[in-house]
Symmetry: D2
Subunit: 467 residues, 4 copies
């Protein structure tokens, strides 16, 4: 903490891109443009139609500087020096030699002295949660999460020449392998069975004999991209002549239809039991005598009738499914997973974080600048806040007080009075347009201003011009 | 504990009935006969078709001795003396005066000295869990639970003349009010709304103004029965000239189709996610922008498509529903709720509990009598043991080590080796016939005997003749 | 629970003794007489002066009926049948063969069928906490605890002919081995070192090679007694021709001066810190540089000064030691450990437990009999209640609501108002004399009666004549 | 975290002092010099003899720049912008108006926008744990903790003109009030009673009527110092014409002789019980009948005897007091409380934190520089590591991995093999001299180097020259 945050060296192209993106008015459009840059020249539309969740794809660019500025080993070295990187918490030391995968983390802080010693002896280094330490990675992921509507995470992998750090395995996330430095030899394999297509959980480490033949084999070079869906087995190793640094950007962990149904269906059943007496009627007196595993071989007409009653009830369940409320449950989880937005200088200047109130020359300055009905405001990002109902009360959930460290903070929210929900919805749906505080559909001017002040103090809205 | 268990006085008719029932070979038939006695002269078949879960019914017998021997205030007085009855745990002191319901439990043990003082000052006494203190109540309930396939419970209520102990309310169980002594004036009311028909939870106490007019009003006398389903509001008060003692026998708490679906549906979804890739596919990238409560007023074709995808998945869920396994989950809960069987002298003599091994004249006697392949055995009750599979292993769950105190013991079980499941199923399905140990479908005679010994030592089986 | 509590057969002599003792007016005197019977013909005074906590002693009586009626194997057999004896909780099955000590407890209830099978195959049976199952043992121990001023416990050991159930070891209690049936060969050994004299904890099992030569070797026969203090190693085995049944009565676990000091000294230090500024003064700035293990070899005058300051403060501590309050802490522990008193018929008739209020012929009888200022009362036992101060409030602690199962109930108490403490002290110190309620030193007659009623309802006092 | 750590402006004098101190070879001497600067011109020796823990003292310097550079409101404003300061965790907003003390913390992050708003409306701001945010405060406290041998903490108080933020009260620490900006009017009062001299706990807020007349009343100006011991009541308020910023440096919380005795005495009793049979002897059989609060008025010779036995045992306790081990328990608490050392550039260059191993130009550089037997090493600070024995094993406890946030990390330690304790003691006692690794009293050169490497990697030792 004693010094400036580590920088990633001269990443001029990326810096320029990010500056351009900062001027894109709508955060969703910004997310789409950044994602397009990530997979360019593949068109995003075609990618999501033909490739996403379906098959691996490779982009070879012959342009080692394409991703320059995103992250570098030099930045990593700087991070080791300046941040409290703990072995086993933020960083793993691994090796995969003669078919054996090992982890070598000692206890305590990872300082360059020991990390580089491990590296020199052939170990791979994995930096977890790099968004907590690198502003650029934070910025990129916080933009991409709006493209995915699901947490965007990342790990960084540094591998010495001629070594491999991990056994073949598959993951439970969509993976974008972005080669930053050097080269890496990759092999990708089909899911082994139908059951391992788009799997719910990651696999254990596999033996080479278990995984068949690769469907894709390539040497990734700096500036290249490799994408593969969850369930595709993969392994990467370094050629003898070059180290490798890559970042894997991931998303869509537990973001399937089934994950939504896990929220929806118990709620649907609760509602059905409240509203439909058929669900509350008693089971047959004697059902235990013909149902259950010990009776499953019995040929009993009562079994058929029982099954058909169950089927009919399950069909009716659809009528009671509170889909929007279940989506809100997923949305809340996502808001909790989100990175906080990284503000541009303009956003800083027009939000609570950069408000001009300050101590100067022995006194407080500019503390009087306040919101009035003429002030034009909007939410800071399309997805930085959301109105959800938990049955009785309506709450506003928001990401602007989240931490760069995953779940370090609780999900933040506050209750919205019934008479303010219209105003909040109006604000959210107006994005990216600014609207005057006076135009909020509340009763009194005083309430409009008070509501806007509250949202401004939480960092949820910013103003069209600095206050 | 210093003296004999309290007896209920001269209940000759009931004693005779219970002796007769002890000679009924099949415990399910026994249960049915006892239930028929309870509601006689109503025929059980018609009762379950027309009345059960549908409407209250009254049986007036003009026979004050009909239920004699089931329980009496004299037995209650004896229990207070001999058992450690604790206020608030086993017994409640209540009053309902001028529309106000109060509980008057002091701390500590309920001795006659203080209990009768409360009674004399106009308080009602409720004895909880009388089956733990009265053998007859235990016997009756342990038989009836086989009729219901659901826990049979009971409370006993003693009310002084001219008083009422409880406010009007409805319960979450089917109730059989059995008048034992004196008289009680009852009023029963319809469920107030469709939503309160067969309700999941009991109601709070109601004001008289909230409940409308009774659909049934009667003075119950000793020997009479009043049944009403869950959801029917009721209140009872004593006439000025007579006290009242009644026992309420209850069943079917949380025993509805919906309660089974609560076990079934999460399991179905887990299986669907394993077996059907459609459940594992990712949600649409942008679903959070048009779904959720804050978007519920939007008229967006993507919403229609989203709803229809959900509906289609929910319909498919039926294909994956593990009905028998879910029934086994309910069965396990029931086995845990069950009272242990109360053994007849013949059963005692032919089971581990009455095995003749003993200390006599300074030495151990009859310790050698053992099971062999010729021994004829059967399970002690139709429903005292059940084979359930929890995915991987098969376990035998049983009630014979349960306590008379609700859930005082954990649910008892042991694992059954795959090669023994056929033998166990054979035993269970053979009931009420006795089969020779030699006829069990196991490989070796030694194994047959070992298995039978294990079941005998747990009290699950007994022998055709005393060992 | 279905039948009468097990009886111990024709123990006429002991029955007569206990009846005589029931007529002894003072429970302390009763305790002393019973203890004298236990060790007779040794005179108690000499025993406590010369033997207690000092050395083993043997009483051989040539009278196999001396302890008859205390407990028998027949009673044990009856208990197995009637009580829920659980392996590992209430009963242990053990063996000691070829120097190897094993425990053979299966899970579940110990029924005669399996227990006698273990016995026949040479295992020893240890019944824990027999006072919960045998009224006579309960009676004897509840009397003896007043003699010891410390919990009196017991285990019962049944050993088949020609076997040994336990390895040589020493215990942390004073042990009275009372031979009830058959014979047992005992060997007792001196504590091995000074540190094992009157040890705080029991020993592990010893090898025969570790324990030297016995100082006492004897065959104990029915009617004999063997006493040894904690720390004396012992082992007993059965001769080939006779089984053995003995009960070991124990006391003085954690009842040493040091155990009292553990309560006293932290309290003394708290008081010293409140009252004496010398204890609150800061440590020397540099004490960590010359004190501590890493400096313990330093020859530094500051160390000498530091030690002497510590010594002086520790000496002053005596001035602040709240001895009576610490004794009360020990007393509370003892009251919690106590068995509840077992009432004689006369005591029953004159206490809340036997109060005549009852249900008879359809109504409550004798509920009006109440305490008035003329009623003569006293505490039920010298030691059944105690007034303790916890700094602010004064509480009455009492044993009459304890359970026969160790610590099954919390320690019972209630707060005593300051204006009632004199009355309570008066009552306690008047024992064994009865005093009229009117003579209690309270302000108003109404309060005297209310206080007496409270104590009567808790079972702490009884009346000179039945109410 | 996006920017450089906040600086405190042009604190040239303090910067120069700290640079000078960095060149002081011995950290204890450095601590003493810094403390001397703090209280100058008072001589430290006289201060500790006459004033410390005895009475308040005032140093008025007429030099507003004396403490310049330690902290400033401008630095505080910068911290609010750059660090995640949370209301209620790191910062409190308070007021004391018309005798009423209030706290006004909202939830969430404290940003300048809201903090300065509170300030302008007359609230005081207290920054807790400033050492976590200000390097200079960290540096100063981490040096001073070696002077005190007890944790040195700090709070910072910013008060608007004409207001008071806190009610009169006393604290449980020795307080050095260092005026940094503006002026504050202070009143200090004697402890109210003997019992409140050097109190163990802080007081509640007092009313003005409860505290008597001040013994010291003064207007503190920038550059002035006010010291007062724990127990002295104090209050400070701002004059109408100037704000106030001060830092209160504190120490000696729970660092009294009594606090040490709390560790020492239970250990002494445990040892006495092990070694001295008198402590293990049983209490008198009848002690409960004459001891305890209910018997405290009795005039019984047994009471006298009992008291004298207690007194004699307490006196003997001194013989068993493990003073050095108890000091080590206190030392471990202190090591856990300690701030980690803040390294000078020279220390950085010669320790693991500044070791030259790095990534440069696409490869690892200088990773081979290792310790050998010629390398000269010493512990980083006199008090940064300590060897303590916990009975069986010897552990090394150290502060170099502590966090600047209080107790954020567990106390760090590792076990030292018996054959290495001499080497470690030699190293610790050699400080501030450097010794060669070869001179460590271990058996083999390899072991010496391995031990030195371990200590180097933990940051406990540094080398005389950069590796």
């Amino acid at each position: 903490k004693q010094e400036e945050e580590c920088l990633n060296g001269d990443g001029e192209a990326l810096d320029a891109l990010l500056s351009d993106l900062a001027r894109v008015n709508n955060s969703r459009e910004r997310a789409s443009k950044l994602f397009q840059w990530l997979i360019s020249p593949l068109p995003a539309k075609a990618f999501f139609r033909d490739t996403w969740e379906k098959k691996p794809i490779l982009v070879q660019r012959k342009n080692p500087d394409y991703y320059k500025g995103l992250f570098s080993t030099a930045e990593f070295d700087c991070i080791l020096r300046q941040e409290d990187i703990q072995y086993g918490v933020n960083l793993d030391v691994t090796s995969y030699t003669n078919g054996k995968r090992e982890t070598h983390n000692p206890p305590g802080r990872a300082l360059p002295f020991t990390v580089w010693d491990f590296y020199e002896s052939g170990c791979s280094i994995r930096l977890l949660n790099p968004q907590a330490f690198s502003s650029t990675v934070w910025n990129v992921l916080s933009i991409l999460q709006e493209q995915f509507g699901s947490m965007a995470g990342a790990n960084i992998y540094l591998t010495p020449p001629g070594t491999q750090g991990f056994a073949p395995h598959y993951d439970d996330i969509e993976a974008f392998v972005v080669q930053l430095e050097g080269k890496k030899h990759w092999r990708v394999y089909n899911p082994r069975t139908e059951d391992e297509v788009l799997p719910v959980l990651s696999s254990p480490n596999f033996d080479q004999a278990e995984i068949g033949k690769p469907i894709l084999e390539v040497v990734l070079e700096a500036g290249d991209l490799l994408y593969f869906p969850r369930g595709f087995i993969h392994q990467g190793d370094c050629l003898p002549d070059a180290h490798s640094l890559h970042i894997t950007i991931s998303s869509y962990q537990k973001n399937s239809w089934g994950d939504l149904l896990h929220k929806l269906i118990p709620a649907a059943l609760d509602i059905a039991m409240e509203e439909d007496v058929e669900f509350r009627q008693g089971l047959p007196l004697d059902y235990l005598t013909y149902m259950g595993v010990q009776n499953s071989d019995k040929d009993d007409p009562r079994r058929t009738k029982f099954f058909s009653r169950i089927e009919s009830l399950m069909k009716k369940l659809t009528n009671y499914a509170p889909v929007d409320a279940a989506v809100d449950q997923k949305a809340r989880d996502f808001l909790h997973d989100c990175l906080p937005p990284m503000l541009t200088p303009e956003e800083l200047a027009s939000s609570v974080q950069g408000a001009p109130a300050r101590w100067e020359c022995g006194q407080v300055m500019d503390v009087g600048a306040h919101i009035n009905t003429e002030t034009r405001v909007r939410v800071l990002r399309a997805g930085c806040a959301r109105l959800c109902s938990d049955g009785e009360a309506v709450h506003m959930y928001y990401t602007t007080d989240n931490s760069r460290v995953y779940h370090k903070e609780e999900l933040k929210s506050f209750e919205i009075k019934p008479e303010h929900t219209d105003a909040i919805e109006f604000l959210i749906h107006s994005y990216p347009k600014f609207v005057t505080v006076g135009s909020l559909p509340c009763d009194a001017a005083k309430e409009k201003v008070a509501l806007a002040e509250l949202l401004f103090e939480k960092g949820i809205i910013h103003t069209a011009e600095p206050l």
